[in-house]
């Protein structure tokens, strides 16, 4: 039996304590151990951005971090945003601007957008395109995603 490490972390405001093998990736911990399957797994080597979550206030690839490293961390995932009846403003902007089709990349896009707008509240189009450049979308052609984020940034500028 491989060594198990006791970890505890706060995910979307809920504290979870579990035992994990050291090699368990944070994304697998979130999905398989906690059942929070909103965070998607795409490439598993840090290229596609689908698994982006927020760790201690900064966006991170959850496929490039071990669960054991997140011991004591505060994690935000897409489940911590709004619900179907009460969308988060970022989700609402994505909906209004048709910034998703199949939705696979959307959780990562949303979490990246949140980090981007926290760091750069009145992001310009260049900031937005640069900020989202690490998140791949194979449906939308990106323009509608940029539009959604631009609308968020524009609201904050006003």
């Amino acid at each position: 039996m491989t060594e198990q490490h006791a970890i505890e972390m706060v995910v979307n405001g809920v504290t979870y304590a579990r035992k994990v093998e050291a090699r368990l990736l944070l994304v697998d911990f979130l999905r398989d151990t906690l059942g929070l399957t909103g965070t998607h797994i795409g490439c598993e080597h840090g290229v596609c951005g689908a698994c982006t979550v927020i760790v201690n206030g900064a966006s991170a690839r959850s496929c490039l971090c071990f669960a054991v490293q997140a011991d004591g961390a505060v994690i935000e995932t897409v489940e911590g945003l709004g619900s179907v009846d009460d969308l988060d403003p970022v989700q609402q902007a994505f909906r209004v601007h048709h910034a998703l089709q199949c939705g696979f990349c959307t959780p990562g896009m949303l979490m990246t957008t949140i980090d981007l707008l926290r760091k750069c509240p009145s992001a310009t189009d260049d900031d937005i395109r640069n900020g989202l450049s690490g998140n791949l979308c194979r449906c939308t052609g990106y323009d509608n995603i940029v539009r959604a984020v631009r609308a968020m940034a524009g609201e904050r500028r006003e």
Binding site: R23, D28, T33, A58, F66, N130, G134, N135
Partner: protein, 314 residues
């Protein structure tokens, strides 16, 4: 908790394949969370070369996921206190090895004193990568096309390392020995990167060409130019993506020395830089294209440095 790896049998292109269905999961390892540098170096020493340092993990973890590496032990240094401190001093800037790219990119002393570093970091991966990736990790990983090793060569950084035998300082020119190969011993760890001060009014430029935003550079070029009385007192030009390690274009630097920084001198230096490189051809770009880029980008960074020098002087 780790998913099983079942045998799967599928028919593809008319051929029956039986394979273990390998998910992209890292191989097992023993995890040691170091509480201090001493913890880390003794864990490295105890495991005789079969241990790796885990810092930001933005290069190491993909390599583990691909199973290109299977170290017995990972020594996590993320909880070592004080290892990410960035401090100005009389000699320049002392950057803790664990300083994250985003932290450095937005650090006021970096912006004020080493804007070329901040500009280069903007090209490292993507936002989420820059949030976690560290300067020490980037130098230790020593990718031939990476931005931070290039900047370490450009700025003549001194890399402070410590191992079982004690601390030592390695000049950047002696640190990078080849692709993903450095002068670090198996039990050594980078603790700090010292950046010597630049003369006031030093102009700078950074340019790279990639196929997609955030990719490793096909070619990256950085320069700093210091002037006095209208003449170049020191020109530094560093190149990445054209060899096993980042390198200085020393012939091109000599071309500029003592000259007024004008179109003719910049053209001559760009040609010299281009003629001196021997890049290889791979599936990303041909050697000829890389050589062409060296000439073009050297011209651009020198022009940018020139504009910035003039602006500082006026």
């Amino acid at each position: 908790m780790i998913p099983q790896q079942p045998n799967v049998r599928v028919r593809i292109l008319g051929i029956q394949w039986t394979r273990v269905c390998r998910e992209m999961k890292p191989p097992p390892f023993k995890y040691i969370a170091a509480g201090s540098i001493e913890d880390a170096t003794s864990a490295l020493a105890d495991n005789g070369g079969d241990a790796k340092v885990l810092a930001g993990g933005q290069s190491l973890v993909p390599m583990l996921n691909f199973r290109l590496l299977a170290p017995a032990v990972l020594v996590d240094i993320n909880r070592v206190p004080g290892l990410d401190v960035v401090e100005e001093n009389a000699d320049g800037l002392a950057v803790g090895a664990l300083a994250r790219h985003h932290q450095l990119q937005t650090s006021p002393p970096v912006g004020a004193r080493y804007p070329v570093l901040a500009a280069a970091i903007g090209h490292v991966g993507h936002l989420a990568i820059r949030n976690r990736g560290t300067i020490g990790g980037s130098l230790a990983h020593a990718d031939p096309a990476a931005e931070l090793p290039l900047i370490a060569r450009l700025l003549d950084a001194e890399i402070v390392v410590i191992g079982a035998a004690g601390p030592r300082i390695i000049a950047a020119r002696d640190f990078f020995l080849g692709a993903h190969t450095t002068a670090l011993e198996a039990d050594e760890i980078i603790t700090r990167i010292d950046l010597p001060a630049l003369p006031p009014g030093t102009g700078w430029g950074f340019e790279e060409v990639t196929r997609r935003a955030g990719d490793f550079a096909l070619v990256a070029v950085a320069a700093t130019v210091s002037m006095a009385d209208g003449q170049v007192t020191q020109a530094r030009i560093a190149l990445a993506g054209v060899g096993e390690s980042p390198a200085r274009a020393s012939a091109a630097e000599s071309v500029l020395s003592g000259q007024a920084l004008e179109d003719d001198a910049i053209d001559a230096a760009s040609q010299s830089a281009r003629d001196a490189v021997r890049p290889s051809t791979d599936l990303h770009a041909s050697a000829d294209y890389r050589r062409h880029l060296v000439g073009v980008l050297t011209g651009r960074v020198l022009n940018a440095a020139w504009r910035r020098t003039v602006r500082e002087a006026s």
